[in-house]
Symmetry: D2
Subunit: 338 residues, 4 copies
């Protein structure tokens, strides 16, 4: 099996995770170049991972002919610019979610990618590659739960990390763009449809500062899909129990629930608190293997020369819906899609 | 402890359950009279339970001086008429939910009950008296989960009984009035607030006949309460796993989930299907002890001469909200409450 | 349905529970007489339950012709004497477990009961009447799990009540006779066989005082049944999580686990501790409905004039086995049954 | 981080898994040579994994100077011979469990390894490296559950693979040596002690052919450890639900249960069967990450030049205990250790 040679742009927290995976956890991948605006950081990670080509300028890295594909893990605002640099240098591109911080930039990304149809592009909605989600998707496609009625999605960040959450909040894009976009992608993926109407609500239940950012610390949204499947999502920043992502699919013949008890291990603790399952405290831990598996799928796509999903349009659509949710939330009114 | 002497009107399926409970499962109660429009049925039940006073006419039963209180378990449409008969005969009244099939009748019930302030009245929202719900309520009042953010309620009937469900559907009042009214009551009880805005959706995912009844086989509703707590409920008639009532309360300091696995026993079955918990197939089994406990609470109220809850206003309000949901569902539009 | 008229001997903690059940929670039963060596206690309970016949002398109560059956809930050492008094007075007898504190007394009980074949006798191994155990038994009889391989039984008392446990320990008969006898009965009932060989071990893991009583605070035993089914039981006094009784039956086609999470309600608590189920803290709460149901079964037996199980021989055998376990434990050696 | 260069001997089912892990899933490892008696198989795997040095003779491979360490994944009977070859060639050695098929050979392995004190040796009891077991061990060491009272271990193979199980059975060494040895290792590891007395029982509950191999299809054993902790293990070949390994540790202050529901994913399936969790059907899937993590630990030991555990003595002791269990089982008698 030919190893796909990656250059990575951005080795912050999640970028570092991807770099480690590409360096030594994915049979079909090899990490050959590292780029980060913070050159010191780039050098440290490169040394740790035994990578010799180090850059602070993405363009320079993309001129390296050894690099076959670029993994973009920079801040959201710069994603499309990086896609442009990499695509124009002839590289395949893996880009972290969300695609961009505005719908306009998403459209720009579409144009760039359409102009390079032979280069592979994939967007990093990693939940689709989590084993549990794959199992659920297969059961649905197999007809095990009949026709879909309702998809319910929860995404909760642990209260334990609230300080970091609050610090990042002003530039995060808010709950809908930063957090719920994962659930919006899952809803589209699971229902095979797009929102027809939606209504988003929420508020500041504990942290009034979210108000200043036109946001809430906990929000929810009810969506009527064009194929009439119902969808409901909830996103919160104050979960006492940990990093909880739960998804439920109600069908006419059965129901699936993923992650209702977001357990960190197979250990049950019997104590004064009763019988307890401890939860993930950290999204990178929760999705560790999904991050690996999405790269495996991406490498396979590169090797086979076939465009994978989630693609750029998935990125545009989920971003647009997230902005629709925010609009509905701010107006506190029902929104009818075009 | 003085035993409260009951006459019961209506000994259909649920009425029979109440009659059995009053006859021999509630320390503070005694069943002394039975009335049913179907006199043969009334006699059979009376004989089985050792009750000598049997009636087909509610008025006649209410003239019996031995009867201190009347339990009304007739069809919803006749509830208010029965309340009037019993109240005017000087009896205390326990009335099954829902209070009535129109808001106008609910208002009429209010007037009747207000005219007899010394007679006890209680409405049978039995879920409030289920041990699990009592445990949850206590934890909330104790501040264990902080301030409330979201209440999510599911009520699902088993697909296994769909034939009976369909037969009863046309005269049931529909999902919102017949089924979701329980969740509406729970939402009001748990949040201590009233809906400000709501949007109800749903449809016929398997049984198109619900369309003819201006209803869906599965519906849901998102509610913004006046105190800004979010509420979401879902009601369905096609649950493969059984009679499932689940309620979740998300707070700023923790979450409670009631009945997420609606288990019939403490048995886990390890088989080719994996590790399984079997579910209730029957709402009377699920709420057996809640039905007993609500009567214990009611008897205590009669003995102490203090008006209990849920009261007639709880009945009116939940009915009005259920009709609001139906209106929103039929218009497929957001509804702002007064 | 004819109501069976009970006189109860002994209204301590569990006797009071039985008295309340007989007075008003069992359709086919009526409590007409109360006897307790502590006459003041007898009078208090009688007044509370509306019973007019009060005694401090069991013989006197058994002369009361209104009393059809006697429920014996005295200390274990006096059970057989009470059985004798009641049987010789012509009464049916329900006796709490264990049958007696020596095998000799058990044999004496057998003789008394055999001398009165027309009088009903039943021993109170209430676990057999718990809904979950009934469900499991039915599945086994139905062949759902194939042939039996292993029965595993845990009985744990909550550490929270250790003071009372320690106070009662010296006169309890020890773990095997007081606690494991329930599991011994379950093993006999589930396997339909008797022990062939057994080895009991254990010790004082926290409370050295058990040593003085020839006992351990936690003990276990492996049993080879005559039909070669394996059985293992564990009994402990120091469970942090509550009053835990778990039983597992491994068969060639499946496994059943009862009470692996001994939950007090259907509430899951999501908190800093993870996702927790709270447990029973009290055996009377755990077995509340089993205590009621065993009396229903007993009443039915009296009405029908048919001897029920568990019978006197179940009492003798489980007592003998418990003493065998103790012998094995004290000798720390394998014991071969006759 | 320096990459440790591995040669692997044996690329059957589990050997192939190790080869894949070493080739591309372990940051600190590199697979440089493959040896298998079946040369065709060796070549296929080498080609797939991009390894150029291929051998059918272990000695030849051990002469390759590029190979720093040998991973032995051959049949149990040949382990010690392979250890000898590798050690004498100056290589570090990782050897799959069990160490050998006789205690004599284990002793021989001890002598070989002691003769090469500067070469690292580690035995592959992978369960110790499973995340859930690591979590449990840490909690125990942290005192979270107080002093240990009882360790209970279950190892069950899925009935679904019974044909392969039966085929392999005659040369497997039997339940105690092949399967329970894992639990014996866990018991030693968790209790920090050795057996004082033990009694093993069991039989042929479904497959009489095990009798011919002096074995049972399901067996169990009660062990009294020298520090008086109780241990119980059960091993079976007929589990309907899947590949189930469960371990429970009862302490004076709490209990831990690992793998009580051996779930394959975070998906709960709500269907006619109730609420179900699906289980692992395959031990390689169950222990995938434990196999990776044990190699990470081994590589770290090689890099640091420090002898890791489990070591050769762990291998000898667990093997000796497994033979003791078999002896007790065949004699059906209690066995006292020296």
């Amino acid at each position: 099996m030919k190893k796909i040679k990656f250059g990575i742009i951005g080795v912050g927290r999640l970028g570092y995770e991807h770099a480690c995976n590409l360096a030594s956890r994915i049979p079909g991948a090899e990490l050959v170049a590292i780029c980060d605006g913070n050159e010191k950081r780039a050098k440290e990670v490169a040394e740790e991972l035994g990578v010799s080509a180090v850059y602070s300028d993405p363009k320079a890295m993309c001129e390296n002919p050894e690099v076959e594909t670029v993994a973009i893990v920079t801040n959201t605002a710069s994603h499309v610019e990086m896609i442009k640099i990499a695509m124009e240098a002839g590289k395949h591109v893996f880009c972290e979610k969300p695609l961009a911080d505005t719908v306009e930039k998403c459209k720009e990304a579409e144009a760039i990618i359409e102009a390079h149809p032979d280069q592979i592009f994939m967007l990093g909605f990693m939940r689709r590659f989590d084993y549990s989600y794959e199992v659920a998707k297969k059961k649905i496609e197999n007809g095990d739960i009949g026709d879909l009625i309702l998809v319910r999605c929860y995404s909760q960040d642990p209260r334990a990390i609230i300080e970091g959450t609050l610090e990042y909040a002003p530039r995060s894009g808010g709950q809908f763009i930063d957090m719920s976009i994962h659930d919006i992608d899952l809803i589209r993926w699971l229902t095979g449809s797009e929102p027809d109407k939606l209504w988003a609500i929420g508020g500041c239940y504990e942290f009034p500062q979210y108000k200043d950012w036109d946001d809430g610390d906990n929000v929810s949204c009810l969506i009527q899909m064009k194929n009439n499947i119902m969808a409901f999502f909830f996103a919160g920043r104050t979960a006492a129990h940990g990093s909880a992502v739960e998804t439920e699919i109600v069908g006419t013949k059965g129901m699936l629930r993923i992650g209702a008890t977001p357990t960190d291990s197979l250990v049950e603790v019997f104590s004064e608190n009763g019988v307890c399952r401890e939860c993930y405290q950290d999204f990178i831990t929760r999705w560790h293997y999904a991050y690996i598996h999405e790269m495996e799928v991406y490498c396979e796509a590169v090797r086979e020369g076939k465009q994978p999903t989630p693609n750029v349009y998935d990125g545009t659509k989920s971003t647009a819906i997230a902005f629709n949710c925010k609009e509905s939330f701010l107006k506190n009114d029902l929104l009818k899609m075009d």
